[in-house]
């Protein structure tokens, strides 16, 4: 009985946010004290497909920024994790990579704002990508550092002994072995960028309207129905991945990733 009650509470606690957002996204006119909106229709959702829709523009921009940041961070993190893996100060390098997380990205955004202005990167797509990259890259580095184990180097050396070139060894051995962790790193960096609000707001100066910024704007405009749609769109990629790929774990903790 107790177990059932716990299950029920847990299911409600976890699924209620999605249900409430779904309800709001299809709702219209939610006047107190009505528990549910007066009308349910797809009108707000259909706005998403109109050519001048702010949400679809934000969606496109968010996808572009997150993909760029994730690709750049994963690529660079892979290269640098290999270079650092042979250093005798490897652990010290990894500890340094924790810095941006401990010091809060938003506070770093405040500190970086001046440099973004001087370099003419504020309120620009590239400025936001660069700022998010500076946060995602250390995270990617921490994830990928765990890949370069003794075992991987042994396999690589074996392939060299058997006559493989550096390129062949990378293409046929290292890359296939690294694929799962590269996928994890890419997805994690994508999510950090996808979820970011503070840094984008500060460096983008409110001009780079990603989905998270749209949610805030809609809330400020008291348009909770559009805010709910933008929120559901934000939830979509991680939920999709969770549903289809259980292998990719959500490693939020810095300890866990190390």
């Amino acid at each position: 009985m107790l177990k059932r009650t716990i299950h029920l509470v847990l299911i409600t606690l976890i699924l209620l946010p999605i249900l409430v957002l779904m309800m709001l996204s299809f709702g219209e006119q939610w006047i107190f004290p009505d528990v549910f909106p007066q009308n349910f229709n797809t009108k707000t959702w259909l706005k998403l497909f109109s050519s001048d829709s702010e949400i679809s523009k934000s969606l496109g921009l968010s996808v572009l920024i997150s993909l760029s940041v994730a690709f750049l961070s994963t690529l660079m993190a892979f290269v640098f994790s290999k270079v650092i893996s042979t250093s005798k100060y490897k652990n010290q390098y990894i500890k340094l990579a924790y810095l941006p997380y401990i010091l809060s990205p938003v506070v770093l955004g405040v500190l970086w704002h001046y440099f973004a202005v001087v370099l003419k990167l504020n309120a620009s797509f590239f400025g936001v990508v660069l700022a998010q990259f500076l946060i995602c890259f250390p995270f990617g580095f921490i994830i990928l550092s765990s890949f370069w184990s003794r075992h991987i180097y042994d396999i690589q050396n074996l392939s060299f002994t058997l006559g493989a070139s550096t390129y062949f060894s990378f293409k046929r051995i290292i890359f296939p072995l690294a694929k799962p962790i590269l996928g994890l790193c890419f997805f994690q960096c994508f999510l950090i960028s996808w979820f970011d609000y503070g840094l984008t707001q500060l460096i983008g100066g409110g001009q780079i309207k990603t989905l998270t910024l749209s949610v805030f704007n809609f809330i400020k405009e008291a348009n909770i129905f559009l805010a709910a749609i933008a929120s559901l769109l934000l939830l979509f990629p991680p939920l999709l991945l969770l549903f289809f790929n259980k292998k990719i774990k959500f490693k939020r903790s810095l300890i866990n990733t190390h």
Partner: protein, 289 residues
């Protein structure tokens, strides 16, 4: 070989630059600005901004408020997770349960804050249900759970976001430490469930998760979106306060914003040092024994 060595060294320097340079540059600029050595209204070296910031009651209140919210949120999340792991140990093997516990990790802070706002505010979902059920007779009668003086809405959002991760994390420790076997052993030696919990399970889980809990306290302290939506001007969490000061039209406030940012970084570093020191001490004692 020599070229490869130089190339590796160069890449390591570039790595250090990528990690340290942006942070150090920002830190140095903030330091110079807060001492009046740079900036639009700079008048040369002055301690004025630091004196004002350090004697600003509201700045300290913000830091204290942030720390309190973070500690309470992490404490509650830890106990919920502990309860779930110990009560539902076997359920973690079920596919549906495993997936369910991962779902909240898909929520960005902004979305979770929006949900809490629409559900727990005075005009939110639960207030409407309470009205329909006759628990309240007007909108004002519903308790203030968002944008409130105690940060209840912020804590609620933080707990909703943090407890699933802690649950997964604690379950991993539970498995890795083979806690199940220790529990069985202690009970077969005559210990009660309560004794097993206080003397075996809790100390092991606490020792293993202490550092992560500390890091999460720092993360929650530095959260921005949630207090922006669910907080208020007084008391205000530290990050919205810093951003507010830095982005105001009054240029006189900017040096104070930088001083406050540095003050916050100082507090965070002290927290890390204290934690690390206690860990070093713990391991030293262990190795001495």
């Amino acid at each position: 070989m020599n070229l490869k060595f130089t190339y590796t060294k160069l890449l390591r320097v570039i790595f250090l630059m990528l990690i340290l340079l942006p942070t150090l540059a920002g830190f140095t600029y903030a330091l110079l600005y807060s001492f009046g050595l740079t900036g639009l209204l700079s008048e040369g070296f002055t301690l004025k901004h630091w004196t004002e910031t350090l004697s600003d009651f509201y700045a300290w209140k913000s830091i204290g408020f942030s720390l309190m919210i973070a500690m309470i949120s992490v404490f509650i999340s830890f106990w919920i997770s502990l309860f779930l792991v110990l009560k539902l140990t076997k359920d973690f093997q079920k596919k549906w349960f495993h997936r369910l516990i991962f779902v909240p990790l898909c929520f960005p802070a902004t979305v979770m804050a929006l949900y809490v706002l629409q559900t727990f505010s005075k005009s939110g979902f639960f207030s409407r249900i309470s009205y329909q059920l006759g628990f309240i007779d007007q909108i004002e009668s519903f308790p203030e759970l968002t944008n409130d003086a105690y940060g209840i809405g912020i804590m609620l959002t933080s707990v909703l976001m943090v407890f699933p991760f802690f649950t997964i994390y604690i379950k991993n420790i539970f498995d890795a430490e083979k806690l199940n076997e220790y529990q069985q052993l202690s009970q077969s030696l005559g210990a009660s469930s309560l004794q097993t919990f206080w003397k075996i399970s809790l100390p092991i889980l606490w020792r293993k998760s202490k550092l992560t809990l500390m890091l999460y306290i720092i993360f929650v302290m530095g959260s921005y979106e949630v207090p922006l939506l669910l907080g208020r001007q007084n008391p205000q969490m530290i990050t919205p306060r810093i951003v507010d000061k830095a982005q105001r039209f009054n240029l006189q406030d900017i040096p104070q914003a930088y001083a406050m940012a540095l003050m916050y970084l100082g507090v965070v570093l002290i927290l890390i040092l204290v934690t690390s020191a206690s860990f070093v001490q713990f391991f030293k004692r262990k190795s001495d024994a």
